[in-house]
């Protein structure tokens, strides 16, 4: 098959490059001490238990409690992990020495982040677009508290209900942002961004009188106004997660 001629390509409407934000869930592997035989035995045992779980899962090595630092040791560790078909791509909580060794081994170095023990993750806990501040980890969650806003939320404002539901009596303007760890209720028109269940609560929902949103997100899974089709109901709707799909449904 022949490559298209230059003038044909110019006529094409497809943009040669599109830049999109993308968030993904990675598995963090915490390394205690050195990467010795004990470590590999334990790792192999874990892999035997759940052979499919790690298949193709992006993996980050956490070096916070690890003494592995030399470029050779890091390279060896990466090679061993890859031999076990683990897709290691980054290191986190690295010291300066570990960071340069990790870079040399072809990894990227991530700034420290919070991660959760994998057992607690029921479903893809996709992070929201801006998880750092929102996910301030607290050992004992404080009692839920609903936040009530009785004024319109204006462009440029952010309202964050960090301990439960958010109720807005009024509209949410374009360029404004409403965020809750629980549900979001808007008794008005939603023109801005609404992010419910930002701590990973996939059962959270968004309700609004009129939907004209720039972005909707539940537990980090999002749709923008571009991906909401023309058939999407716009009046008295609820937005919820069904599996990995963000659904917009009219409230009858």
């Amino acid at each position: 098959m022949q490559a298209p001629k230059a003038d044909e390509r110019e006529g094409a409407t497809v943009k040669p490059i599109q830049i999109r934000g993308r968030s993904l869930t990675a598995v963090a592997l915490h390394l205690e001490g050195a990467a010795d035989a004990n470590f590999y035995n334990a790792l192999d045992a874990k892999l035997r238990q759940t052979p499919l779980f790690f298949e193709n899962a992006p993996l980050v090595i956490d070096l916070e409690h690890s003494s592995v630092a030399s470029p050779e040791a890091i390279s060896a560790l990466v090679a061993e992990l890859r031999r076990r078909r683990l897709s290691v791509f980054a290191a986190q909580n690295a010291t300066a020495e570990q960071a340069s060794a990790a870079l040399a081994a072809g990894l990227i170095v991530l700034p420290g982040g919070r991660d959760v023990p994998i057992e607690r993750v029921s479903r893809s806990p996709a992070r929201s677009a801006r998880p750092v501040k929102l996910l301030a980890a607290e050992p004992e969650p404080p009692p839920a508290a609903t936040k009530l806003i009785t004024q319109p939320v204006r462009s440029g404002q952010t309202v964050f209900a960090d301990r439960g539901d958010l109720v807005v009596i009024g509209s949410v303007s374009s360029g404004a942002e409403v965020i809750a760890t629980g549900n979001i209720h808007i008794y008005g028109r939603l023109r801005g961004r609404a992010l419910a269940g930002v701590n990973g609560d996939g059962a959270a929902r968004i309700f609004c009188h009129a939907l004209d949103a720039e972005l909707l997100a539940i537990a980090g899974l999002y749709r923008t106004s571009e991906t909401l089709g023309p058939d999407t109901p716009r009046q008295n709707v609820q937005i919820y997660l069904e599996g990995e799909k963000l659904c917009v449904e009219s409230l009858k």
Partner: protein
Amino acid sequence: MSKVIVVTSGKGGVGKTTSSAAISAGLAMRGHKTVVVDFDVGLRNLDMIMGCERRVVFDFINVIQGDAKLKQALIKDRRLENLFVLPTSQTRDKDALTQDGVKAVLDELRQEFDYIICDSPAGIERGAHLAMYFADEAVVVTNPEVSSVRDSDRVLGLLNSKTYLAEKADGRAVKAQLLLTRFDPQRVAGGEMMSVEDVLEILAIPLLGIIPESTTVLRASNVGMPVVLDDKSPAGRAYEDAVGRLVGEQIEMRINPAEKRGFLQRLLKRTA
């Protein structure tokens, strides 16, 4: 009891200075002692629109910095008994404004004037922030188009959070009202401009007035005459109505004062 009213918008070029001049002149015509203060440090325009640019000796910044007394900087309007202008500096920038300095000047003005109109610069930075900070009321100037409406919405958010009344949180808030300027009913009908209803639905604040797009506004600016002094123009009458509402009168909203033209005139306009 004096009132500080900020005329603000976020976006530039929507008619803040023209509206400040018209509103302050309108208030003075109604017998209220009024001063209009230019907060647009470095881009002095108000004194030109007020037609007093050749009489500026001392300015707002001189007063803030203690180089001149307030009385020396205030310029009395030649046409209206009750109208004064406090011009700003052309050679300084917004950093010359300090919160304490602005407060001191406004407090002194409050002693003497019924209305203090603060002409805000565009943007949401220092100059605009200090222009709105001590306000009791706000006139949000908006053109019927999306970017102006969004910027006004942003400014309304700031009025609700970043002002003295909002920070004091004693239940009082800056009372904000919408002044829709450069309104052209024909372009609204043609779908090129947003309708009054659309703008009000987004901004959700009371409507103070609708100023039709008009060449008399530009002409008035060029000759340094506040547009309310031209009582024959639709824009001048619309500003007069808006001023009446600002002081609490009930005046019916004329969506298009231009439509008061006779039938024949309208016909002529169509074919022209």
